[in-house]
Symmetry: C2
DNA sequence: CCATTTTTGACCGGATCAGTCAAATAAACT
DNA sequence: AGTTTATTTGACTGATCCGGTCAAAAATGG
């Protein structure tokens, strides 16, 4: 139970919109349905490959979903850090000038 | 040999400025001197506790060094990702509105 | 050269994390 | 109510990641 996950919200919303069961998504990714549930709740992160599969399966823009996934990973890493915002801004600067 | 590390540059510069040997820093942190060398080259990351020790040892601002350390960790995670910049900006937004 | 310092590679142990299974809980339907 | 189906949760596992060490190799410099 973590609940900070953008990707989780996205795929859960999409799944419910299409009236699909966890089992269906799980079959498409060839994983346990419990794992899909955990993706949606953010207590397991999908692999990069699974993000691509999820995007295809739900007909979502791959770059958008990948961005959400990456952002979740970063956020998880820095969320309790006092210097989080400064660090993120520093990285942004570095990426921009690359 | 990675060379993207801000923290590594900082402590190496500081160490040389004060004419200290790796062995001295290593003793202060109670670790192998090889590890300190790797910190400087960015192929091992110090722990959070070690960052504090390094800041104290070199009389550097702890928040500054911690920021560099965090930024290095983030950058390492996203540097080869196409969506890195978008993700980082998203995290920044989330941190700002927290 | 020789002594000292730094760097590098191989390896180890612990932590982390995706993944599974089964039990527990929650929805949904009759 | 009870029953079935769907979801969530916890415990556990195996593989990968990463801090750390040691010793050898490569620099540095006197």
């Amino acid at each position: 139970m973590s609940r900070t996950e953008a990707l989780g919200y996205i795929i859960k919303r999409e799944r419910e919109k299409r009236n699909l069961l966890l089992r269906h998504v799980a079959a498409a990714l060839d994983i346990d349905q419990a794992l899909v549930s955990k993706f949606e709740h953010g207590d397991r992160m999908p692999t990069k490959e699974q993000v691509v599969l999820l995007a295809n399966y739900f007909h979502l823009n791959e770059n958008d979903l990948m961005t959400a996934w990456l952002a979740d990973k970063i956020y998880t890493e820095v969320q309790y850090e006092k210097m989080a915002l400064r660090a993120v801004k520093l990285v942004e600067k570095k990426l921009t000038s690359k």
